[in-house]
Amino acid sequence: MIKTGTEIFIECLKKENVELMFGIPGGQVLPLFDKIYDAPFKFILTRHEQGAAHMADGYARSTGKTGVCLATSGPGAANLVTGLATANMDSIPLVAFTGQVPTSLIGNDAFQEADTTGITRPVTKHNYLVKDINFLSEAIQNSFYIASSGRPGPVLIDIPADIQKASTEFVWKEKPDIRSYKPNLKGHPVQIKKLAEAINAAERPVLYVGGGVIIANASAELLELAMKAELPVTTTLMAIGSFPPDNALNMGMLGMHGMYWANMAMQNADLIIAVGSRFDDRCTGKLSDFAPKAKIIAHIDVDPTSISKNVAAHIPVVGDAKNILTELVKHVNKKKHTQWIKQINNWRREKPFGYENDSKLRPQYVIEKISEITGGEAIVTTEVGQHQMWAAQFYKAKYPRHFISSGGLGTMGYGFPAAIGAKLGNPKKPVICISGDGSLQMNIQELATASINKVNVIVCILNNGHLGMVRQWQQMFYKRRYSAVELFTHEAKRCQPIPDFVKVAQAYGAEGMRVTRKTDVSHAIEKALKIKDKPIIIDFIVEQEENVFPMVPAGAALHEIVTSLA
């Protein structure tokens, strides 16, 4: 059947089962928006294209489906870049559509023209500029396939306005077939056997688990493996929720702000089994002193470039974590590592984890309460900074896809729009964004989006009046010379935080609350959880100079972990 470009666009999205799209219209996407007017999916109008990309991302991370966003040419496309880069670093399936000036004007510096595929090439898994209407449906079909398969990532499709209006025969392939793209999903049986033998022989094994386990939906297989061979598990920031928080084998997060015993276990292990993790510098500390006692490092990853990039792997296994773990479990022996577990427990006792739980309102306490009240069953998103690390340390996410954070790129302004996307994808789940007073202001305009669409996300601001993480580094490494980190004015009698978040909430039609006393924390959270028809901001005025510990200073080895200021 002959269809126009815009009809093909809608038809393809129907075939890909798209239920939700985020974005903002503009000159070069007017034809698409004319079709979106009565499309069979919901379109969420955001207030900034970056918000649209992060919402699609939060939707994708929390549901496992592909997120979709749409922006106009030039500035619209450029505003997507941070969102694409965020998704790219964390391997999140996203398809972004952008309008482009008509093909006859490309390269002419036309109004709102930008080289969108050029700008986004380094921050996407792949991108297309569709210059021929006959390629449009294939480009869209390929994009959804590329975004969601192998190591997932964002894909952008740039569609010039004249292509949107052109017509052609609509073709839909049974299955996309790209001759140059064949991700390897099945692990090599010889490598899997080799890894099983290494596990069976190991005395001090550690499972070092990353976000790949969540992407591959391999949590059940991971649990089975860890229990069968009694393997202590440490998770990266991206893997929080992939392993039950109350399981005795769960050592918690490792790395810069990880648990002391998890880092000590890495440094003393004789076998490290990395699963869907990529030996990021925040996890390894100083590379030359990383895991000095490891005789074997094994690495399971779907992306061959992750293997032996930072740390050489003795047993590389390329493939999908779910497939590989399923096979691996069959070959490992049931075993106990009593001595090793005892050693780890000794480390736990040696430097226990906690904070000064006094009468003051401390940020860690707020997160502990969120965790307690929700039972770890709420979807928590975070912004980036101190609050993010406290959330990682204190929120006990019970399930995968329940802890959502910009890990690789570390994008401030990510958490709030991501929470909106997560809530729209999971309307029955409570969704809480743990934020700082700095981060929230980077996409605060999306309060309008949440309000108008009655998205009852709860934003818990741990308001310390500072860009807290930078302040902490300046305190620890720059002699407390606080340079450009204060978020309040000195002019008023007492330090007055700007803005008044309660008034901001009210101005946007959201609920605003302020909590200044420890005793009011639980009540505020419980009250917020009952509100169903609008977003809620709770402004927790917390201790200003609280620091995140433990901490491995930049450039130090994992065991050189600092647990307090002194």
Binding site: L129, I146, I178, S180, D303, P304, S308
Partner: protein, 157 residues
């Protein structure tokens, strides 16, 4: 150490940009790069020579393979293969030394392709070593211009 990589890629716009972006973003240095159509007009072959240790080479190879438009990558350091480079050299030559240059051209089996009162243009094909040796022999006469295609390579057999 210098390595030669050969990649079959989709013959469409943007592919070269993807590859050069990859090298720039990861801090790899391209020594030479040649691109041309293969017998299948939808496929181009790129020959890339790079310097680096085996760890960097392994990463480059994997990163190239990861690009959606790259069909296949060959790395030739462990394979018997032939490499060729073509150079055009404009050298100062007058009636006094022209015959001397012609002798060198003869020995290297190069060709004179243009002649003027003051210059000669010479075409030479060969591996990098041969071309460098030839250029070395011509240098004392005065090289006015030199252009090289970069290396193309093919596995034997």
């Amino acid at each position: 150490m210098r390595h030669t990589l050969s990649a079959l890629v989709e013959n469409k716009s943007g592919v070269l940009a993807r590859i050069s972006t990859l090298f720039a973003a990861r801090g790899y240095n391209i020594d030479t790069l040649t691109v041309g159509e293969t017998d299948d007009p939808s496929v181009s072959r790129m020959t890339i020579t790079v310097r680096g240790d085996t760890k960097i080479l392994e990463q480059i190879e994997k990163q190239l393979n990861k690009l959606i438009d790259v069909i296949k990558v060959f790395e030739y350091s462990q394979t018997k293969h032939i490499e060729r480079d073509l150079a055009l050299i404009k050298v100062k030559a007058d009636k006094n030394n022209r015959s001397e240059i012609l002798q060198i051209v003869d020995i290297f089996r190069a060709d004179i392709i243009d002649l003027s009162h003051e210059t000669l243009m010479i075409e030479i094909t060969g591996d990098e070593e041969k071309i460098e040796a030839f250029v070395g022999m011509l240098r004392p006469f005065g090289i006015k211009e030199l252009v090289r295609t970069g290396i193309v390579a093919m596995a034997r057999g």
